[in-house]
Symmetry: C2
Subunit: 478 residues, 2 copies
């Protein structure tokens, strides 16, 4: 498990130990887990700690609690499904032309009859719309002139204060003046790139990587260098070091927490190594932490930024994966590039919209965000597990599925000769969207991979769609 580190709480380590027993077949589906008293004796911990372990496992879908009977192992195990393989591959510099696939997919997202496994977002009912609307009404009532000024960079002060407060828990202190509000995380990454690099510069990215990042880098006339990336251990740092010298890498865009599409949380020692390696070479790290609040184990993972000693890590995130994305509220902490980022934001859009950041700030101030996150994580973990199981059931033999540590995305490796672009087209004809693997690279890679979004509340509709998708996958031969 990539998430278990020396710094994890005791109950997580106990839980991980139990997962190990499930994986080795010591505990099987349907088995009753040891009683709380038994576990506390075995592990020499309090009953409370034992209960925490079980609740953690329940959250992740490993156990289910039955009234007055205790905890039982759920079936089938997540671990019975093989994960996609690591394909070392070579480092190449390419200038890509990411197509219109994402736009097709997003357009269909607004078609109520379509089933969307394409865009990476969650069902509306998972967001606290009522609370946010209450905040919105309150702002309108108390400050009828709420939108009458340009909220110019760095933007909404109450929100910057809340973000700085939350960040202080995951690393060295960040003050509110370090934070600049943006229109979502991708704009933050875009501004970070513009501040740190010029057209023609080489930018290192994970492979596979989020298509939006790839397309943004390309649109700025920068070169993309894809670094082979392990499904659990992240970027191959030796290859990165080599590429820094060979391609004179200027900046590196990375998603260490709940990677899109791979799903891993990078172990802390890798984060530290990445910060040190790039720090030595004066390479800027642009860290996309957009899913960082969505780890299934509920532990807020550290950021690469928290290991940054030189101000060379630019941390980017947003509330678009945890709150309604239409508010378009993101942010950037840009280290030594802060002033330049602020200036670039100003000369590109003058300001972000005034309402969205205030609504989010009010929600954070009220303390409702953490409670909401807990519910959201639990829901997403369970949905993701259901989708994994349906894929395991309906997809052709030889299919491998990622085991994400958080977020709501699955990376699915189909049997070798499957053509995921054909599958994408065939699914689109049935009004089912997926994202084909090749959009996650510029080098015509991942032709037999797809990404599946699990943000939707589970229903029969999704079950049937996955059944159909599995059948289409069997037919989509290259």
């Amino acid at each position: 498990m990539a998430t278990a580190t020396a710094t994890s709480p005791h109950y997580v380590r106990i839980a991980e130990n139990l997962i190990g027993q499930m994986e080795r077949g010591v505990l099987r589906a349907g088995d009753r887990a040891p009683s709380l008293r038994r576990l506390s004796e075995q592990q020499r911990v309090s009953v409370t700690t034992a209960l925490q372990s079980y609740m953690w496992l329940e959250d992740r879908g490993y156990l289910e609690a039955r009234a007055r009977s205790g905890f039982f192992v759920r079936q089938p195990f997540a671990s019975e499904i093989p994960e996609p393989r690591f394909e070392p591959g070579s480092v190449r510099a390419t200038t890509p032309g990411v197509g219109d696939i994402m736009q097709d997919v997003f357009k269909m997202a607004n078609d109520p009859a379509a089933v969307g496994f394409g865009p990476g977002y969650s069902s509306p009912e998972l967001f606290p719309a009522r609370r946010l609307n209450l905040n919105l009404r309150r702002i309108i009532h108390r400050d009828p002139l709420h939108s009458s000024r340009y909220d110019s960079p760095p933007g909404c002060e109450p929100l910057r204060r809340q973000i700085a407060r939350r960040l202080s828990g995951t690393g060295p202190g960040v003050s509110l003046s370090d934070v600049v509000i943006t229109d979502g995380a991708l704009e933050a990454v875009s501004l970070g790139l513009r501040a740190a690099a010029k057209p023609g510069d080489a930018i290192a990215v994970e492979s596979p990587a989020y298509f939006g990042t790839l397309a943004n880098i390309a649109s700025q006339g920068m070169k993309i260098v894809e670094i082979p990336t392990h499904p659990q251990e992240g970027m191959d740092l030796n290859e990165l070091e080599h590429a820094i010298r060979k391609h004179r890498i200027k900046a590196c865009v990375t998603m260490p927490n709940c990677h899109n599409p791979l799903g891993y949380v990078l172990p802390d020692r890798h984060k530290r190594e990445l910060a040190e390696l790039t720090g030595r070479a004066n390479v800027v790290v642009i860290e996309d932490d957009v899913h960082g609040d969505l780890t299934f184990d509920g532990i807020r993972p550290r950021t690469v930024k928290s290991f940054d000693k030189k101000g060379l890590v630019i941390l980017c995130s947003s509330f678009s994966k945890t709150l309604p994305p239409g508010y378009r509220v993101g942010w950037i902490v840009a280290g030594r590039f802060r002033e330049e980022v602020e200036r670039l934001k100003f000369v590109t859009t003058v300001a972000s919209n005034s309402l969205g950041p205030r609504v989010v700030a009010d929600f954070l101030e009220s303390g409702g965000y953490d409670r909401h996150l807990k519910r959201l994580r639990t829901a997403i973990a369970s949905q993701t597990e259901r989708v994994r199981q349906a894929i395991a059931r309906y997809f052709p033999a030889g299919t491998r599925i990622s085991r994400p540590a958080g977020g709501h995305l699955l990376w699915v490796e189909l049997p070798p000769k499957t053509d995921s672009l054909k599958l994408y087209q065939a699914a689109l004809a049935e009004r089912i969207t997926i994202l084909p693997g090749p959009v996650f690279s510029c080098g015509n890679r991942y032709t037999n991979y797809i990404r599946i979004n699990c943000g939707h509340t589970w229903s029969e509709v999704y079950e049937r769609a996955l059944l159909k998708l599995g059948r289409l996958a069997g037919e989509a031969r290259g």
Copy 2:
């Protein structure tokens, strides 16, 4: 008057004629204007047309209506104040470093104790906040999940429909699929530039030009070529033609309606010539029409886009000058670059915020926008005239002031040796913001010019601030 053309309505031509009489001293301050009956006989028009002429002149501050006494000439005449001179100058290609002035100015804009003549916006009370808040509440009530999806490009359909409908009045038909929603006009210009040109390309601009445009072009690594611009006739088209050959201009950013900072509305024949000249040379025109709805005479001027035969004109605008700017609602009609603009918008911010465009669309659908525009134009025309008169009264001898055809910006030429950067600093120390001339160019021009925003509802505060500013201007010697 730049606004009077062969296509102007009859009543405007009559009014212009009367202004001529005022300028020649035939009609003096305090004089009673001819009665409506008399005017209608003189000009051989209906009494209604005569009344339209007088209302037009009243809107612009030339006449005042007194109950039961008729119309009187107001004093002092706008026309007694000399306008800034045209400085032909040379065409130069420069790569600028626009400083932090604009950010200082915008930050002070949120300081209630400061008097802001810097940023170009209007008093909150001039916007229909109550109506917009009503729309906002209605959206929240009818669609509580309003923000739960990415409103991906081209964005909000009802708003695109309204924009297309409005545009059809000013030129060849535009369909809703031609419109892409943006976060304000500057983002629209930025996207247009990215679609039409590459880093290193040469971009022609007016001189002086809006500082945001200059800074945006520079931030994209493009070269800026400043074309001498006449205070009424716009860009010198011979110089532009010459520059297109000499500097291989790729695109031209222009603001033909209520130019920022000069204030002119370009005559139609110049717009046509500009479209033809650039069309022949395959130069893309990026037309910033952000003040186009704010002409004092209430006539919606044509756009360069309306003369575009080749799809080479990219029309950009927003509602940030006519509705509360914090909503951040702009748009772009990009001709043959539509798909590329849509793609660039997507890969930069994924989507615009969902609420702002819906609120604006509802307002436009209800028909309230035109009535609002009428009130806003009248208020702004009168405020602008008051500021002009105060400047004429308090500023050093030799000061010249633009006579804008719309918008709320004045371009003020101070006596030759005045250092407007010194004046900017001295004013800032007194918590008065202005914009110094040099930010409107990249070539250290306009050192004795300032731009004054007149968007605020007139009050004693502004009168006193202009008195102080005038004194400081006398002391700010280079």
